[in-house]
Amino acid sequence: MTISTNLTTFGGFPVRTVEDHDPFPEVGAPVAWRASLNNYRSDAVTGTPDEELAGWLERLPSPETVQALIVGEWPEAFEEGAPVQALVDFAPRLPALRHLFVGEMTFEECEISWIQQGDVTPLVEAYAPQLETLFLRGTTELVLAPFTAAHLVSLGLESGGLDTTLVRAIADSTLPALRSLEVWLGTSDYGANASDDDLAALLSGAATPALSHLGLKNSDEPLRDVTALAASPLLPRLASLDLSQGTLGAECVPTLTAGAFAHLDRLDLRYHYLSDDDLTRIRAALPTTQIDAGDAQAEEEWGRFVAVGE
């Protein structure tokens, strides 16, 4: 599953995209506004990502009422870093913002490993006190220091290859209200290098006392992941676990069926390399768990691939 579609809802609001220098339409009810700034599509888009997003934000109708915001494409996103400064500068005018997604681009708009991020620490500091949802797509050049977010309920880092410092940054953060954490570990081809220590720190649950849903997705080290999970203080507290989009296969079955996962209400295994027999054994060992196991993959002679490696 490469990312081929944009979100249609975010934060519970329908998404409305406003492209380039187009006017904002009248809307009868609150929406999640989405910025899409593409210098290939429009000759009018000539500024830097910060300049263009700043201009777009200036045109937001009633910014003091905006609760959800998505930053999709920005100009030359495969080369230019995310428009963090524009968002930081505008923060005082978005007091009602609760849901923020930066980098919400499809594979066709910009492949995930090519999305250039940057130091988002100022962004997080500016918005952390008020956000309930924060998603970042693309972790190339991403710098994130440990942070405190008292009201953050849902956090997601979507990546083709997650650097271990980012795993550690979340592990060292203070997220007392976080109920859902989604981390795409990715593949070493694209920089995935999570150390056992950093992963253990994340799975200690110390940063996330209220966590009930964890996604360790798009990972090409699934055995390492399930082994670490099985030994973790966090797993018993989870109601829902998402191990989808990675290379999870038969080698993970013994760990998955040894007991530590049987309490889960939900287990997402979509996009996997398990056989029907593997799935039968997993379902038998987790009889009260709702298991989603669609999109089975067949291993070819060139091996297994994560769903979003690029």
């Binding site: 579609t5 995209t17 899409s36 030359e76 250039q116 690029e310």
Partner: protein, 357 residues
């Protein structure tokens, strides 16, 4: 039965037992159009067999001996291994010359050598479309500079079938990646069913190898619209069969990567779901653009137009026009197959709307 002035019988120039030929013959038999088959091997040996006939030109694809002969006539004499990328310009030149030999003797032909020549060369197709104002992806840099030009590019062989030798390239931040359904074997490019990713020096090697095989065309990568279906998230494009300048059959293809051609193991998706997803306004733009593109080849009765929808679900652009783009098993438009529509056109005009709106 036939309208006054319609031909009594059609001579299909094709390959016996090819499902293209069988599909047309089946539709013709059902709808009351007499056909006779002139095998490509015979047509090449003796073009006088086309004298006085009304010709339907089918692809010689399955007849490897005919394909070799056509390539030889076009100036390519070396043998090609299965899947090896090469000889496409020569194949096209040979085929255009052969069709010329046949058409000049025939009573009528469903295409012309000039239009076929343009259809086989993506660069010439683009120029014709652009001249008519049909939206196509923007030009990219010359192929020799593509890896040094920051941006996202689609590199295609100027000749050759869809997705053969196509590469989606991203250049930026001191790094280059090329993604495409091809592999290098001892430095020779071959088609492959899987998408392979090449970086930096490997990308350079692939592009160099491809450039050695024939001219390349570079476009700006047009980001395509996608759709969720079942558990998958797929990029969508559309193949529209246009008969006598009217869009008749539409097939939607979905892919997990930037190339949606079905032979890459990608899949058909439900056309109505795509239409519902993008809305009627965009859908109409798709059909209008396909018909406008066919208008660039006014003396070719049937073309297959590959139309892309932009990622925001509104813009459309033509990716490619196919001379033999009507092999779509099971696909229907207005209850009829692409072959049905073409037979109806030969019989003097179908009744009813093309694509039911």
């Amino acid at each position: 039965m036939s309208e006054p002035g319609a031909p009594d019988a059609i001579t299909i120039v094709g390959v016996p037992s090819d499902r293209r030929v069988l599909g047309f013959e089946d539709a013709a038999a059902r709808l009351g159009l007499a056909t006779t088959l002139l095998p490509w091997s015979d047509a090449l040996a003796d073009p006088s067999r086309a004298s006085g006939a009304h010709l339907r030109i089918e692809s010689p694809g399955l007849d490897s001996a005919a394909a070799d002969e056509l390539r030889r006539r076009g100036g390519h004499s070396a043998a090609l291994a299965h899947g090896e990328i090469g000889g496409w310009q020569e194949w096209a030149d040979g085929l255009v010359g052969a069709v010329d030999d046949l058409a000049r003797r025939a009573a009528s032909c469903d295409t012309t050598p000039a239009e076929l020549a343009a259809l086989f060369d993506k660069r010439r197709t683009r120029r014709r479309l652009a001249a008519l104002g049909v939206p196509v992806p923007h030009d990219g840099p010359p192929a020799a500079q593509v890896l040094r030009t920051p941006g996202r590019w689609f590199v295609k062989t100027a000749h050759g079938s869809s997705a053969s030798g196509a590469l989606a390239v991203t250049v930026g931040r001191g790094r280059v990646e090329a993604l495409g359904p091809l592999v290098l074997v001892d430095g020779v490019p071959f088609n492959d069913l899987a998408l392979h990713r090449y970086r930096d020096d490997a990308a350079d090697a692939v592009l160099t190898a491809l450039a050695a095989r024939g001219p390349l065309l570079v476009e700006r990568w047009f980001p395509k619209w996608g759709m969720r279906t079942d558990d998958r998230s797929l990029t969508i494009d559309l193949r529209i069969v246009v008969v006598d300048q009217v869009a008749r059959v539409v097939v939607a293809r979905g892919a997990a990567g930037p190339m949606t051609n079905l032979h890459l193991g990608n899949r058909r998706v439900d056309v109505e779901a795509v239409r519902a997803g993008v809305g009627d306004a965009t859908w109409q733009r798709v059909l209008t653009v396909a018909e406008a593109a066919a208008g660039a080849f006014p003396r070719t009765r049937c073309v297959g137009a590959d139309v892309m929808i932009g990622s925001e679900g509104e813009r459309v652009a033509v990716a490619e026009i196919n001379a033999f783009g009507d092999l779509l098993p099971g696909a229907r438009g207005g209850g009829r197959s692409a072959y049905d529509w073409q037979v109806a056109a030969w019989l003097g005009g179908p009744s009813g709307a093309g694509w039911a709106t």
